[in-house]
């Protein structure tokens, strides 16, 4: 249990660093802005208390905001994402519930489950984030296009990251 918390804390910092040092500097055009750091919220253990979920999402968002100079925007999107996570998990839960000690990852629940679960969360996060950033509805469709394309890229990165760290996960 303690190692699990420790592992998550390390993952938190790792993801923030990857996001702000690596992904932030890759420019793939106006419509592609992947935010891979949300992986942290997606694969927090099932047993995480709800309040801790919100607070860790808030902390993650603040950390990203700090580097992106976008005070509050990422944290708002992350908190929203953490808020809907329990509901989405319930929606996609297997018939006999989640097994104790497992995590919401590809390794435990398979690709189709993970894609739909993470897809919805990432889409919500990006939707909220981009619309706060634009802060008006007059450019709705171009913003919406950005949301869709960026969500797909983020999902891709998130799934790839899971395969990269597959070995570690199975040990834990």
């Amino acid at each position: 249990m303690l190692t699990e918390i420790f592992r998550n804390i390390i993952r938190f910092f790792l993801l923030v660093l990857v996001q702000v040092l690596l992904i932030k500097n890759i420019e793939l055009g106006r419509f592609i802005n992947p935010f891979m750091y949300v992986l942290f919220i997606i694969i927090l253990p099932f047993e995480t208390p709800k309040w801790l979920l919100l607070f860790s999402a808030f902390a993650l968002g603040i950390a990203i905001d700090y580097f992106y100079d976008t005070a509050g925007m990422h944290s708002a999107a992350c908190v929203l994402m953490a808020f809907v996570r329990p509901g989405i998990l319930k929606l996609f839960s297997p018939r006999d519930g989640y097994e104790f000690g497992t995590q919401p990852t590809v390794q435990y629940l398979g690709i189709p489950w993970f894609l739909s679960y993470a897809g919805i969360l990432i889409f919500l996060h990006h939707f909220f984030l981009f619309f706060i950033e634009v802060f008006r509805f007059s450019e709705f469709f171009s913003t919406f296009l950005r949301v869709i394309i960026s969500s797909v890229f983020t999902l891709l990165l998130v799934v790839m990251a899971q395969y990269l760290f597959q070995g570690k996960k199975e040990q834990g």
Partner: protein
């Protein structure tokens, strides 16, 4: 109170979400210039639109006062028009050889003054139509003064009481106004034939005049009642009278007699002078 606490405790997840989200939004609006500007902007727009609507409603109650004020002001402004001033006249004795101030040398003489009045009674559907105005002898209205609006001629004051006057409308069998065609100055008498309140008849226009539909008809300068160049209407159609070298012209009146609310009573200050002089020469002729 305890119920409230239990309620919040029950929904602590949602409450916490709301609190954190509000903190985020606060940060967004506080620290990002664009979002702050558009937040303030849109909230200003909301309050401004509410205030504008209430002001619009309020304005309706003040319309009456406002109209009266405007009508009075218009009447004053009309007195400053070029047409209201007879000429630049030299009233000073020019035989004096000493230096005369060039400004004092020329003095404008006011010819017309205007009083605004409200129409309190009006008719258009009789053969002889009259209007009643809310200005009378107390306000300096006298018999035979001209009555106009900003769009054209209305009529002539017929009777005056202390606070009211009746106006013989242009739509009256006895009203005849001397008018001329603005484009070439050919003139003739205009009267109303009693059919349609938006048309009148102008006769005695010589046939050599090339009339076009839409030609402007204005009051002539020979009238002592009406100021010159007041709009009457436009040429609608014309026919040649049988075996006479004259056209009879149907004129579309520019004054909307159905919609009269505020009119101006015109006072010609030089009228008496002109009429006395003219009467004198008339009597001379007879002798």
């Amino acid at each position: 109170m305890r119920n409230l606490v239990t309620f919040i405790w029950k929904h602590s997840f949602f409450a916490l979400f709301l609190i954190l989200e509000s903190v985020c939004m606060y940060l967004v609006v506080q620290n990002n210039n664009f979002q702050r500007a558009s937040f303030i902007n849109s909230s200003n727009q909301v309050s401004a639109s509410v205030l504008t609507t209430s002001k619009n409603i309020e304005d309706y109650f003040l319309l009456k006062d406002e109209n009266e004020k405007l009508a009075t002001e218009n009447a004053q402004l009309r007195a400053h028009l070029k047409e209201s001033i007879s000429a630049i006249v030299n009233d000073l004795d020019s035989s004096k050889t000493e230096y005369i101030d060039p400004i004092k040398k020329t003095i404008y003489r006011q010819k017309y003054t205007y009083t605004s009045a409200k129409v309190v009674n009006n008719s258009t559907n009789r053969r002889n139509n009259f209007l009643t105005l809310n200005k009378g002898s107390k306000q300096g209205v006298k018999k035979n003064m001209a009555v106009i609006t900003n769009t054209g001629v209305v009529g002539q004051v017929k009777e005056v009481s202390e606070n009211f006057c009746t106006v013989m409308s242009l739509l009256h069998s006895a009203t005849t106004i001397n008018v001329l065609l603005k484009k070439d100055g050919s003139f003739g008498p205009l009267h109303w034939d009693g059919e349609d309140f938006s048309f009148a008849t102008l006769s005695d226009i010589p046939t050599h005049v090339k009339l076009i539909q839409g030609d402007t008809v204005v009051t002539s300068p020979y009238s002592t009642t009406f100021p010159e160049n007041i709009m009457i209407g436009t040429v609608d159609s014309y026919v040649q009278e049988s075996r006479k070298p004259f056209f009879t012209v149907k004129v579309k009146l520019s004054t909307e007699f159905k919609k009269l609310t505020y009119v101006y009573i015109v006072n010609n200050m030089l009228k008496e002078e002109q009429e006395t002089l003219e009467n004198k020469s008339e009597t001379d002729k007879k002798e």
